[in-house]
Structure formats: C-alpha cells, structure tokens
C-alpha cells in the first residue's frame, strides 16, 4: 500500500506544481491546495500505514497496535495552517481582481518601468 501511496503522492505533487506554474490565479491557489493534500499524505505514509487501531488508548489494545500518532498530530497542525493560507490567498486574489480587474499573472508583473 505504501508504494501505491508514494506514487499517488508524486502524482498529486506533479499536478499541484503544474497548476502553480500556470498563469491563472485561481489555478495557482488550487495548486497550493493540492500541494498541501500531497504533503499531508506524504507525512502519513512516512510514518507507515500499519496499525490496527486508532491512536486512542483503549482496554485490551497493545501499544504496538496503535497507528503512529506523531504524523497525525503534525498533519492536524498542517491542515489548519494550510486552511489559513488558502483563505488568505483567496482574499488576496479577490482583492486583486477588484483592484486590477484581472487574474492573469502575465499581466500582473511589475510596474511600468520594470523591464
């Protein structure tokens, strides 16, 4: 399963980077969203996908049966942060629409005297 997941993570990263390199602002933001999904799955896979029981202490479950809690804790933090970043990006994009009337990154480069 880890091998399949690794390939899937690579695919997510590829799609994310390709979207981020496009010239449309919304695609760039979608790309960052995909990138964080890829990163979360990467963290999860790194710790190993084994473990028969969720990491909640329960009667009759031995310590080795719990899923690895550390990646989960890291991912939980990362989900929230990526949400904050995505929302910020969205408002930023929304504002630049209103001010500049475009979401084409090719038209958003520098000032007039910037060659």
């Amino acid at each position: 399963m880890e091998i399949i997941m690794s390939v899937a993570i690579g695919f997510l990263f590829m799609a994310a980077v390709y979207l981020m390199l496009s010239k449309s602002l919304i695609r760039i933001i979608i790309g960052t969203g995909l990138l964080s999904h890829g990163a979360h799955l990467l963290l999860l896979t790194m710790g190993g996908l084994g473990g028969n029981s969720p990491p909640v202490v329960a009667e009759g479950v031995s310590v080795s049966d719990y899923a690895d809690p550390l990646p989960q804790a890291l991912i939980l933090t990362a989900i929230v942060i990526s949400f904050a970043v995505t929302s910020f990006f969205l408002v930023l994009a929304y504002r630049s629409y209103q001010e500049l009337g475009t979401d084409n990154m090719e038209l958003l480069r520098g000032t007039e005297d910037h060659e």
Partner: protein
C-alpha cells in the same frame, strides 16, 4: 594608566555633540570640540620623555577573548609622533573650522561627529599593536572620510568624490586584511611586536610575498600612491578643514605609518624595497608633474600631496637598504629613515598651512579657480606671507624646514646608487634622476600656487566676492603652522632628538637599540657636495621653467581625458553597475512562473542531490500494509478528481473537483485510522470549497468560464520532476528509519504522564503545546490580514465616492 581608553575619548565626546548643537546653538559647537584634541595633545605630550629614551608603553583590554582579539595600545616613538600630529593638527583644524563653518547655515553636529569619529579611528590605527583592531580602525577612517567628503551631500561632486574614495580605500583595506590574515598564519600571532622577531623565518614562507603585496595594496590605496591616487583630487570636495586634516596631514599618512610600522617585518625582501621605493618615487614625479595641470587651488594641493606622500614613501623604501649593509653609521644609507620621518613632520606642518590658506582664499573671494585669482598680495598680506612660507618650504628653499628634509632626501636617493643588492647597482642611478625631476616640478608648482594667487594683476570683476583679509581667528592656525615651519629650520636637532630619532628606532629596530644611537646631525650647510649642486640645479631649472610657464602649460591639455586613470575608474564603475543590472534582469523576469520554476528546480536539485550523495535512497518491501478494496476505490476517486482539475474548462468544475480531492484524502484518513484528521479535514474542506465559490464564482465582473489550460512542455517537465522526486522521497522515508521514532514514547506515556487517552490530542495540547500556540497565532495573523484587506476596500470605495 590605561591609556588605551583614551583612543575612544573623541568617540565618546561625539555622543554629546548633537545635544550641544541643539541646546547651545548660540555658541559655535567647535569650541566644545576643541577641548578634546587639546586635552589629548597635552596628555600625550607628557609621554614624550618615555619615548625620547627609547622606552615604550603598553595598555590593553580584551575585546573578544575567545577569538584572541584585544585592543592593545602600544606607544613608542613612531606611534607617539603620529598621535601628536593627529591631536595637534586636529586642534588647529578644529580652531580653524570654527571660523570657516558658519554656525547658522552649516550642520555642525554632523560635521563634528564625523570629525571626532575620525580622530578615534586615526588614534586607533597608530596605537594598535593588534592587526585585527588596526584593520577595524583603518576601515573606520575610510567611513569617516566618506562621510566628511560627502558633508555637502546635496552637491553631485561631493557624493561622487565620497563614493570614489570609499571604493578605492575600502578595496585596499580588504586586500590589507587578507595580508594581515596571512601574516597571522605565518607568525601564529596578531601582534606586530611578536611578528617582528619572526621575520627571518617568515621570509622563506610561501605566503610571505602575498602578504607583502596585499599589505602594500592597503598602504598604497590609503596613501594615494600611483595608480590609486585618483581618489584624492576628487576628495577635495570636502570642506577645507577636512582636506587640511584628513587629506594631507593625517589619514593619507596612515599608509605611510603602516609601511613604517611593518618595515621590520618585510625589510629582508628585495621586492619590498623595490615596490615601496619605486612606486613612491614614481608617484612623487607623477603627482608633481600633473599638479601644474590643475586650475583649482585645492587641486594643485591635492596633487602636491600625492607627490609628497610618494616622496616619503620612497624614503621609507630606501631605508630598507640599511638592513643589508654592515656598519651603517659610516654610510649614507642611514639618512633615508630619518629623512622620511623628518619630512613627514615638515609636510604635515607646511601642507596644513597651505590648505588653510586655500580655504581662506576660497572663503574671502568665493572662488578657488587660479585663473580668476591674482594680485591678492596687497589685500591679504598675512595670508600671502603664510602661503609664501609654506610654499617655499615645500619647494625646498632655506630658511624653512622643508629645505633640510629635501636635502636629506637627495642624499638618501644618491646613496641608492651605491647599493649593490637587488640589481640596484644597475638601476639605482634612476632614483636620483627621477627625484631631481620631481623636485624641479615641485619647485615650479609651489611658485605657481603662491604667485598666481597673490601676485600678478588683481581681477576684481571675476571674483564672486570683493576680496579682503580673513578674520583673525581664521588666521591663528595657519600663522602658527607657518611659524613652526621657520622654527623647525632653526632647531632641527631638537625635533630630531625628541620626535624623529625615537620613530626611526621603531622603523629600524635591527640597527638601533636606543634613539641615541641614531648618529645623524642635521645642519643647513654641508659644504659643496652633490646634493647642494642638485639643489642649485633645481632652483635654476625650476626658476627658468616657472618664468616660461605660460608658454608650455597649455601642452597639458594634449593629454586626452579618455585614456586617463579617472576614465578607467569611471568605466569600471559604469560597467559593474550596468553589468550587474543586466545580469539580474536576465533572471528577474517579473513573472511569478519564472520564480516558481527556479524554486522547484532547486527543490529537485537539492533533494535528488542529497539522496544521491548521502546514498539515502532505499526501497524496502518487507514491512508494507496490505492493499485493500476501499483503498483502491478512493485512490481512483482521488486521481480522477485531480485529473478533472487539470483538464476542466470551468472554474466551478475545478473547485468542486478540488473538494472531491479533499474528501478523498479525508476518507484515506478514515481508512488509515486517523479519526481526528478525518473530522478536521471534512470540516475544513467544506469551508474551503464554500470560500472558493464565494470568492471566485460570485464575482460578477470576471467571466465564469475560462479557456482550457494549454499544455506547456517546460512546466510539465518541472512538475514531473517534482512528482518523481517526492515519490522517491516518500519511498525512502518509509523504507528506512535513521533514528527510532519518538512515537513509541508518546504511546507509552500518554496515559501515565499526561493523563489523556487520545494520543494525537495530547501531543497537540500537551507534549507540543507551543506548536499549537503558534499555529493559533498564524491563524490569527491570517484572520487580521483578511479583515484588513476587506476593510481597505471599503474605505477606498468611500473615498472614491467622495471624489466624485
């Protein structure tokens, strides 16, 4: 007494200057400043009896003990001589500046802060025994010189001159630092005193010649030797007190000091003697030759300073001959070192007075252009007298101090023809010839300076202001210096015993163990010898050429400006500026895509490179989780929705597909036994999709449809590279564990230590509580940012409305 702290006294005083300027503006700030150099001069003069007997004083405090860096003030004859020049001339210059700079119009607090900073730096250079702190003070003089040249910063020429001096002297300073580091590697010490005894062993070291050249680059740039002198004429944009102080009497002599101080270390090498004496003498000739091309009074003095510094430099080089001969007391080689120091004193005295006179002329007539000046003799009789004394001393006429050291200079240069090492027996004959030629031109420009300004026809219509004699306060300093010029002529041996001989002992410690052993008696009359005939020749030829100056001075204009050293500097500056600009424009395209491509390429490069170099790639199939049916279904959904994003034409589809990816990830969390993650992901994903829709879909002015993304090979390549890299990283990370995971600790202690059952939650709020705290902080910052942006829009809209 720990006099090492006195170095910092001017800097300390500088702290109070802005306050005094603001609060006591009625009194010229210079009066307060004057106390500092006068007090220091009196204190340092009280140390004279020690050095006259050949003694020395050391005072130090540790600065960075772990790096073996300390402030070590070492006072012997040489450093005390320079210290007295710095404080003595400093006091006179401050006194002069009080009348030169108007207290109402000038920013005196800036001026005096820079000046005091310079004083500390200069005292630090001449007293430091530690190479690293010497370098520190060395650069501080460059910086304060930069600030003082650019004092009238609204003028283009000031800023240009300031930058030019900074570029050249800091370049030299860095080279010198390299030389110092090599010296410390060879001698295993930063102390100059400890380096000197090791000189005989160091000379055969591979680094020796490099250290020598690098240190000399520092000295030559600072002391304006050919071809680095070009910054000095442009530095004349500084206020005249600064020119008199920094650019003739003290800072430009730091290079001479360095050469003198390190002579015992390098003296064994023939390269040292050739470079120092050769470059010095050539500079002397070059500077005096081009001084006659100048039309600006301070320009003439600048070139004359270049020339005189070259003269002293050549004497310091010639003094190296003393190391290589036996029984020096019976030869003429003994004169070079003495002459160098003696002329250094004379030059500081007469050049200081000449600069002050140039400032007075500028101040009282409004111009320094020698073509507009003339006939000021009757209007400014005191200034004229002072100028004449200074210039005659510079020209080497009796009865002025310059005559004595000039004679001795000729003696030293003649002695080189008898030196039979380092092919001097073949080329040594050039030295007296070039020295004689340089002296002829020195004679001419000295006369040119005085008589074109004060004699001839008065041209009142060309002067911006009607000329009159300067106020008495402004004349005190130059008159005092002019008196010194005459006094030195009559008591040369007193000056020799008190100041020169102790300093000579520091330059030539291998010859003398006490100043009394320096067997030189200065007298004005030596009988009819070669030097006297050379001097008479200088007077005759110089006088004749001055008489016909108007006929041949125009030929200077034939030197094209386009092939000068200044043009070289300008072109270098222009090329580096435009070159750097063009280079950065090459990759700073302004497209965000370009920057992302750089970053991602770098990520690929670093990660793959590390995987390869550290042999970290691993592939292990032994410890895999089983592949189940649901996993495959979710995976297909994940990949399908990702592909939908890539190929969709409509934004709505893309946003919903992104939501689908998020839900698939949440389902993965469910399957891989991460219930907290699954819950959080579901909530967050729902809000995200809503936000996306809100922000993009409901913006009316943007079309809801978007054309399909065109395929771009370059982007695809980078994306594929990142994808493959991440797959490899994921595989390697799973297949090996370099360290045991801390997870086991959490699992075992979560209930006993933290008293919680949900391990993930306990990690977040307990074990790694600060992480969570900062996570909340990030959320807060993002929230503030979002609110700000929305608020900004509202206020601006209102503003626009009002405008309408």
């Amino acid at each position: 007494m720990s006099f090492v702290f006195l170095i910092f006294l001017p800097l300390l005083a500088a702290l109070f200057i802005p306050l005094l300027f603001k609060k006591l503006g009625k009194v010229h700030t210079g009066w307060f400043v004057l106390i500092v150099p006068v007090a220091l001069f009196i204190y340092y003069a009280s140390l004279l009896p020690t050095t006259i007997d050949g003694g020395n004083l050391v005072s130090e405090f540790q600065w960075i003990p772990s790096l073996d860096i300390a402030f070590v003030a070492y006072i012997d004859g040489l450093s005390l001589l320079f210290t007295l020049l710095i404080t003595g001339i400093g006091a006179l210059v401050v006194l002069y500046s009080i009348f030169y700079l108007d207290k109402h119009r000038e920013q005196l607090h800036n001026f005096y802060v820079y000046l005091l900073m310079f004083m500390t730096a200069m005292l630090g250079i001449v007293q430091s025994d530690h190479l690293i702190t010497l370098y520190l003070f060395w650069e501080l003089t460059s910086i304060s010189s930069f600030l003082l040249i650019g004092y009238w910063y609204t003028r283009d020429r000031s800023r240009f001159g300031a930058l030019k001096s900074m570029m050249i002297t800091v370049f030299g300073g860095l080279m010198m630092l390299g030389g110092f580091v090599l010296l410390s590697i060879m001698g295993n010490t930063y102390s100059i005193r400890e380096l000197i005894p090791q000189a005989p062993e160091m000379v055969s070291h591979d680094f020796f010649i490099w250290a020598l050249v690098l240190v000399l680059l520092g000295a030559f740039t600072k002391s304006a030797q050919f071809p680095f002198y070009i910054w000095l004429p442009d530095a004349m944009e500084a206020p005249t007190p600064v020119s008199a102080y920094l650019h003739s009497a003290t800072m430009v002599k730091a290079g001479l000091y360095l050469v003198a101080r390190l002579t015992p270390v390098f003296v064994i090498s023939g390269t040292w003697m050739w470079l120092v004496a050769g470059v010095g003498l050539f500079t002397m000739f070059w500077g005096s030759f081009f001084a006659l091309k100048q039309k600006d009074l301070k320009g003439i003095l600048a070139f004359s300073t270049v020339s005189q510094l070259g003269l002293i430099m050549s004497l310091l080089g010639a003094s190296a001959a003393g190391y290589h001969v036996d029984n020096i007391a019976e030869t003429t080689f003994k004169y070079a070192g003495f002459a160098a120091i003696f002329h250094l004193i004379n030059h500081a005295v007469f050049k200081g007075s000449l600069f002050m006179i140039a400032g007075i002329v500028d101040h009282e007539t409004g111009t320094r252009d020698i073509r507009k000046l003339g006939g000021l003799m009757s209007l400014m009789p005191i200034s004229f007298t002072v100028a004449m004394i200074g210039a005659f001393s510079m020209a080497g006429l009796p009865p002025f101090g310059g005559f004595l050291s000039k004679e001795m200079f000729l003696t030293a240069m003649l002695s080189l023809t008898e030196f039979d090492l380092f092919s001097m027996d073949v080329w040594g004959v050039l030295f007296p010839i070039v020295a004689w030629l340089g002296s002829v031109f020195t004679f001419i420009y000295s006369f040119y300076f005085v008589f074109h300004t004060f004699a001839g026809k008065h041209k009142p219509d060309q002067l911006p202001k009607p000329a009159h004699e300067a106020p008495i306060g402004m004349l005190i300093s130059p008159v005092f210096l002019a008196l010194l010029v005459v006094v030195i002529f009559f008591i040369p041996n007193l000056v020799g015993d008190w100041l020169v001989k102790p300093a000579v002992m520091a330059i030539q410690p291998f010859l003398y163990s006490s100043p009394g052993e320096v067997d030189i008696h200065v007298s004005a009359w030596h009988g009819f010898n070669t030097e006297l005939f050379m001097t008479l020749g200088i007077f005759a030829v110089g006088g004749l050429m001055y008489w016909t100056l108007r006929k041949w001075q125009k030929s200077y204009d034939r030197f094209p400006d386009s092939v000068s050293l200044n043009a070289l500097y300008d072109n270098l500056m222009f090329l580096s500026d435009s070159g750097a600009n063009r280079f950065s424009m090459l990759y700073m395209t302004g497209f965000i895509r370009s920057y992302l491509v750089y970053m991602f390429s770098f990520v690929i490069f670093i990660l793959l490179g590390t995987l390869y170099l550290a042999e970290a790639f691993a592939f292990d199939v032994s410890n895999l989780a089983p592949v189940g049916f649901y996993e495959i279904v979710i995976l297909v959904a994940l990949i399908g929705s990702t592909l939908t994003i890539l190929f969709s034409k409509s934004r709505l589809t893309a946003i919903i597909a992104l939501g689908a990816v998020g839900y698939s990830v949440a389902l993965f969390f469910v399957i891989f036994r991460a219930p907290d993650l699954a819950l959080t992901q579901l909530v967050i994903e729902t809000i995200s999709v809503a936000l996306f829709l809100l922000a993009f879909y409901h913006l009316p002015q943007i079309s809801r449809k978007e054309e399909r993304m065109r395929f771009r090979f370059g982007n695809a390549l980078v994306a594929l590279g990142v994808g493959i890299t991440m797959t490899l990283v994921a595989l390697s990370a799973h297949s090996q564990k370099a360290l045991p995971s801390i997870s086991e600790f959490y699992k075992e202690t979560v209930y006993s230590e933290a008293g919680g059952g949900n391990i993930v939650n306990v990690i977040l709020v307990d074990y790694r509580g600060f992480d969570t705290l900062f996570e909340i902080a990030v959320l807060g910052i993002a929230g503030i940012g979002i609110i700000t942006m929305i608020k900004l829009r509202l206020t601006k809209k209102e503003g626009q409305h009002e405008n309408k």
